[in-house]
Amino acid sequence: MSLADAAGILLAFIARLITGAQGHWKGCPPMAEQRIYFANHQSHLDWVLIWAALPHDLRAGTRPIAARDYWTSSRFKQWLTTEVFHAVYVSRQRSDDQDPLEPLVEALKAGDSLVIFPEGTRSLKGDPLPFKSGLYHLAQLFPDVRLIPAWIDNVQRVMPKGEVVPVPILCTVTFGAPLALQPGEEKRDFLERARDAVLELRPPAP
């Protein structure tokens, strides 16, 4: 076992110790097929939580998206995102000659699964923000890849903004039924439907 594998196992264990990281597979079973998981985004821990909720053998083939400028700024960050999480790097600065989705397209062509947060940024309060169009374009380009909505619950309580030490509080990741782009469906309609699919998985407020 390499150091990166050991670090991955340790990280998943810590995530489970702190948050439980329970995966509730409501709409589909965990399976070794190519998928794009899309979820609400409230905290930096979101990715780790989805990753830890996946069965161990699916983790290596499921990759997060990381901002290149931040996650390659130190050797440790680069090692963590490359070796442990196998992240797909994207540039935050838009340049005219490059499509921002290109790294994602390449990863999907290579047969990997992705986890994306279509809100684009963290929504700290209440409902998720409107979805960015990337999900729609990926759905158009890869009709055979399953699109799985997911709702991450409670994670904002584990580590509120500005805190560094996480507090042990149980979190769940609920995975819903796969969503497919309908023939001729408008971009706005599809993104709205995708957002509703994520929202539908939110546990009822007590």
């Binding site: 329970q22 509730h24 409670n154 309580r157 509120p160 509080i169 149980l170 009822p204």
Partner: protein, 327 residues
């Protein structure tokens, strides 16, 4: 009791070993019996009574296994094992308590400082400090930290939740390993029997109360909290615990009447504790337990340790007070 081997001629370790053989044997028989019965009757697996019985049985298994691990691993291991249970129970409690952002520092204090310290005190047998550390010092420290966070909204409620969680999940549960380490004159190394006594008595009270409430069909005292709780059923549970305690008096340092009284107190406290926990769950809006839960945080561990959390401190302090133990 034993005709072939006289248990009094065995060493302490052998006696405890024998205890485990009997315990796991009985559990195995009960589980097999229940499974066979369910198969023969073809009971619908969704039958709530059957499910509840299975849950009680599972709780017994968990209790027995914890107890075994605690004994096998010695004082350090026992402290550590119960420390982990405390951590998991508190995690579940805090999840259900819906704390606010400004409670973050208080929660860090609770999880990463108070909890380990309490168990270090148990492990070191600092019983005097151990009994006052949380009710006195932490009682002040938590609201101070909370006030420093500068959020006056629902201040009392938020602090009460955290205090309560610490009292039940850390203070209460830490009394179980404390029993293992309590020194009785002429009873050295047999703390495991005392924990066993407590666990058995608490479980018997719970099961007897459940059965009696079904049989008696009394009007529930508080139907919005628990449909099966009635005074008579509670009394029956505590009395059953007392009888079992009396039968087990030979494994404890107590005389027969003392064992009867202490078992009654511990059994009654355990079932009342469970009753209180039900009220708490209703308050938190939890109706289903286990992984079927639709609400984040309901794992069911709290359910299983609740009787112990309430019975252990009452048991420990009655014993310590009654025997004037200064350890």
């Amino acid at each position: 009791m034993m005709t072939v081997i006289d248990p009094r001629h065995l060493s302490v370790d052998q006696q405890v070993g024998l205890l485990f053989v009997i315990l796991f044997g009985a559990l195995l028989l009960t589980t097999a019996g229940t499974t066979l019965l369910a198969l023969r009757r073809g009971t619908d697996s969704a039958d709530p009574r059957h499910l509840r019985l299975l849950r009680d049985l599972r709780a017994l298994w968990v209790g027995a296994l914890v107890f075994w691990v605690a004994w096998v691993s010695g004082p350090v291991g026992a402290t550590l094992a119960f420390g982990i249970f405390s951590f998991l129970a508190l995690r579940e409690f805090i999840t259900l308590a819906h704390t606010r952002r400004s409670d973050h520092r208080s929660l860090i204090l609770a999880f990463f400082i108070v909890l380990p310290l309490q168990y270090v005190l148990v492990g070191n047998r600092n019983f005097d400090l151990f009994t006052v550390f949380i009710p006195v010092y932490v009682f002040l420290a938590i609201p101070v930290l909370s006030a420093l966070a500068g959020d006056p909204e629902r201040f009392l409620e938020r602090n009460a939740k955290i205090q309560w969680g610490i009292m039940v999940c850390v203070f209460g549960l830490s009394h179980a390993p404390a029993l293992l380490l309590l020194e009785f004159p002429r009873y050295e190394g047999r703390g495991a029997f005392l924990v066993f006594f407590l666990v058995v008595v608490a479980a018997v009270a719970q099961i007897a109360q459940e059965l009696m409430s079904r049989w008696l069909r009394r009007r529930p005292v508080a139907r919005h909290i628990d449909r099966s709780f009635s005074y008579r059923a509670w009394l029956a549970g505590a009395l059953a615990a007392a009888v079992v305690g009396l039968l087990l008096f030979w494994i404890t340092p107590f005389k027969a009447p003392q064992a009867l009284a202490i078992a009654f107190i511990a059994g009654g406290a355990g079932t009342l504790g469970e009753f209180v926990m039900k009220a708490l769950k209703k308050d938190a809006g939890v109706r289903f337990w286990g992984n079927r839960a639709s609400i984040t945080g309901a794992v069911g561990l709290l359910d299983r340790v609740a009787p112990l959390c309430f019975a252990a401190p009452v048991f420990f302090h009655s014993v310590r007070w009654f025997f004037q133990l200064r350890a």
